[in-house]
């Protein structure tokens, strides 16, 4: 998908620390970007993968609150995620825990910082911390299963054609 704003998403994965840092700018003031991050009817419009339906089961966006959402394909739940809102600091900072129910022992601590980037724009920096490098690399590689499956499909087609 092509970005309509031309802002680039930057990802940093330190080779020695179990962290992933994502930095992105948005063409909207902080308050508005923050709302898109915490109001469920807005979140559900962008957070999930495009090919799945996102259902928000619980969403209490306040400090100490709890959330759970699930992804559905043809009415079947295919993945679910939950966590706590550790801190909801209006328009500037959002700290959440995040667990993929498929990996129940894994938990990521995600801190999103919202800051002005000039001309009504907002820079959001999300730092995710997990408990070890192996888990971090598994998160980075999580798109890889799909890549492997696609690879196999291509290979199948190639083999069928030859």
């Amino acid at each position: 998908m092509t970005s309509t704003t031309g802002h680039e998403t930057r990802i940093e994965a330190d080779p020695t620390l179990p962290t992933i840092r994502i930095v992105r700018e948005f063409n909207a003031p902080q308050e508005r970007v923050f709302r898109a991050w915490i109001e469920p009817h807005l979140v559900s419009r962008w957070l999930g993968p495009q090919d799945l339906d996102m259902k928000i089961d619980t969403w209490e966006a306040r400090t100490g609150g709890h959330y759970r959402y699930s992804m559905h394909r043809e009415g079947q739940e295919v993945a679910a995620f939950y966590g706590s809102f550790h801190e909801v600091r209006p328009a500037t900072r959002l700290v959440q825990t995040f667990t993929f129910e498929g990996v129940p022992d894994g938990v990521s601590l995600d801190t999103a910082v919202f800051e002005p980037a000039g001309e009504g724009r907002t820079r959001v920096t999300v730092l995710s911390v997990v408990d070890n490098l192996v888990a971090r690399d598994a998160i980075l590689a999580s798109g890889m299963e799909r890549g492997v499956v696609e690879g196999y499909r291509k290979l199948d087609a190639l083999l069928a054609a030859s």
Binding site: I11, N27, A36, S44, R62
Partner: protein, 137 residues
């Protein structure tokens, strides 16, 4: 890349332990013993995984040194980069949708837009929204 080589690489990386070994060797070289220790696996089991990685051209082992440390091949480092790039692309897809959401929002639609059907009906409206109404943006 030949189809055989390509499929060997796919097979090698389809296994989570081997992906893990690749991730570890991307940080530093390691001996079979060191890898076996960190996975609580036998040397034989680790050697088996390493053989698959070696045959796929992802890992090499020096023939002469005593320790014979395993070394990640540069093209596998490219692979690591491609993991990150894939992750970045997925994040970018999300954020492009967020761009569209932000463009469609105005500062007052918090009260008029219905909550999504999955949301708890009794969910309290966040107090920050009230506090921030009318605040300069």
């Amino acid at each position: 890349m030949a189809v055989d080589q390509l499929s060997r690489a796919f097979v090698a990386l389809a296994d989570p332990t081997r992906r893990d070994i690749v991730a570890r060797l991307s940080v530093r070289d390691a001996t079979v013993g060191e890898l076996a220790e960190s996975y609580a696996m036998s040397m034989q089991a680790v050697s088996k995984h390493l053989k698959v990685l070696e045959e796929a051209g992802l890992v090499s082992r020096s023939r002469d040194a005593q320790r014979r440390p395993c070394h990640l091949e540069p093209q596998a480092l490219d692979l690591m980069t491609s993991w990150i790039e894939r992750y970045r692309r997925r994040a970018e897809e999300r954020f492009s949708r967020l761009d569209a959401v932000l463009a469609a929002m105005d500062d007052t639609d918090a009260d008029t837009t219905p909550a999504s059907p999955g949301t708890k009906a009794d969910e309290p409206r966040p107090t920050w929204a009230e506090k921030n109404e009318g605040a300069p943006s």
